[in-house]
Symmetry: C2
Subunit: 332 residues, 2 copies
């Protein structure tokens, strides 16, 4: 008999999370009931939204509960099936939590094609982050060819897809990222037209240089000072998709945004969204992303942590921006 290892939410963080907020436990291997499958997870996804779920405060989704397995997506192999929908040996992605094995309703899992892409890509470019990029960029911001699209956290799982998707639609793409290494990756590997290093200390000036024609679309992952800077560059009738505000997640001292007058003057539409509200868009999004991926037009990188026990430290590193590309945890 095999043992399952799980990471629980041990306590709620105040400000930055620490290792003490997590607890690694062992438990018996769960057994699937009728209609369910047992999945052995190969890769666990680490995403910024998880930080919000650690708070008790009202957010767009239910909080993680203290003493329960941390919420998270994973991709893995069906090792036992009590559902006609999924066979042993098939790979699936779903909300399986921070653990090595999970039981889930077959109806709540999505089969993935490991011939098109390795399993971990279904946690990034061809998974929730990719669809998030598609919904915010295409559905909310509706970019037109030759418009300038700016995305913050441009080297991340979502931002990297936003830029490449915008490029494939004929837009000029400008990333914002932290440090020369990430900026080089964004321009040279992902093919953005420019990238602003916000850590270089000249955000306003460098952003102005990188957007001589202003900004038509801003895909926001960061918030705070970055949002304030981009607001000064918005064009008339421009759009902002608010996908994340990672700079504000670990502090109670929220940054005060001073340039909202731009929303009025430029008739900006700013809209918050979460990808799980828009399930009806997933098929169209995955179709376009899959086609671009097969054509080699959606490049990606991963930062891979090894083993379940490394998940908390990898998660904290991601919140600090230490990863490049999609942060995953390899379990098998």
């Amino acid at each position: 008999m095999t043992v399952n290892r799980q990471i629980l939410l041990a306590s709620r963080p105040t400000g930055w999370p620490t290792d003490a907020n997590f607890k690694l436990v062992e438990s018996p291997l769960p057994q699937p009931a009728d209609g369910q499958v047992l999945v052995r997870s190969h890769y666990l996804s680490l995403d910024p939204y998880m930080r919000s779920r650690m708070d008790a405060a009202k957010s767009y989704a239910k909080s993680a509960e203290i003493g329960e397995v941390m919420i998270g997506g994973a991709v893995g192999e069906v090792i036992e099936s009590k559902s006609a929908k999924l066979a042993k040996g098939e790979f699936v992605v779903g909300s399986l939590g921070w653990q090595e094995y999970a039981v889930a309703d077959a109806a709540m899992l999505m089969k993935v094609d490991t011939r098109l892409a390795p399993p971990s890509v279904y946690l990034g470019t061809l998974g929730m982050p990719g669809v998030t990029a598609w919904v915010g960029l295409i559905d909310i911001c509706q970019p037109k060819a030759d418009e300038t699209v700016v995305v913050s956290a441009a080297s991340g799982a979502v931002g990297s897809v936003v830029g490449q998707l915008a490029k494939s639609r004929g837009c000029r793409t400008v990333g914002i990222a932290g440090g020369p290494k990430k900026c080089e990756y964004v321009v040279k590997e992902l093919g953005f037209d420019a990238c602003v290093d916000y850590k270089a200390g000249n955000l306003h000036h460098d952003l102005k240089d990188a957007t001589p024609g202003g900004v038509d679309v801003y895909f926001e992952n960061v918030g705070g000072e970055t949002l304030d800077a981009v607001l000064t560059r918005m064009n008339p009738f421009s759009r902002i998709a608010v996908c994340g505000l990672i700079s504000q997640y670990n502090t109670s001292d929220q940054y005060g945004v001073k340039n909202l007058r731009s929303v009025l003057i430029n008739r900006v539409k700013m809209q918050g969204f979460i990808v799980s509200d828009r399930m009806e868009l997933w098929p169209a999004a995955l179709k376009e992303l899959g086609t671009l991926f097969a054509q080699g037009k959606l490049k990606y990188r991963e930062t891979v942590a090894d083993g379940l026990a490394s998940a908390p430290a990898a998660f904290l590193g991601m919140l600090r921006g230490e990863n490049l590309g999609k942060q995953v945890v390899k379990l098998v």
Copy 2:
């Protein structure tokens, strides 16, 4: 021969405007060319947007030029016509400026029906402010029956129409206004369900009390601390129309808005607009407003300044919130 009196923009203000930014001059009566009419203005409109036009800074419309007649709408009588479209004795509304007489192309003026409403109403409820209320509320925010609609500057020309229009569509309406006199007017005369006095010093608490079910629609005229407070009350999938930010017009020290996380968490749509972008909506707006007005469902008040020379002081008073309802200047 009659003399025309005009108020020019003498200089650009730094912070709050003063009398010294304006200059009253006399000039010869202008003569209409073919296709034009000469209008004797009866009422001049004073509106918050004029403050932005006094700045050289980029705004949504062209700045007023130093030495030129101040920009503004007026309603008046055609006293000489060289156009087949307008006859002597007809009343028209248009962008006639801060002056007693004006020549304008007949095509740029709109005829008004003085049997339905007195001329000055076409500067308020049945004019640009009324249509502004309609576009922001109906087109951008799309309120549904039983939703809670909050409007700041609720006793003003725009806010008063927002609340009554929302009420006529079955919404719960909450105003924000400065002082007990305005709040009493908003509730007792305009029929709002509640009004929060932001000057009473308990904005967050009082707003919470007045919106027990949260806020579905916020029509923003004010900005700053008021916006920050309302953001904490927004419901999932709520909408904010940004019509004005009058609290921020006379200071270079812009308020920092801290609660934008609500836009993400609640998937809020926040959109800036200006009514002149949406000329295609004016007929539908004026039709609904005219019908409600004829039914006695659009109450209004005016603060009337007497004579052209009083316009600068009345304008400054309006920026300080000293008026109740629509601020006009009576010229005839």
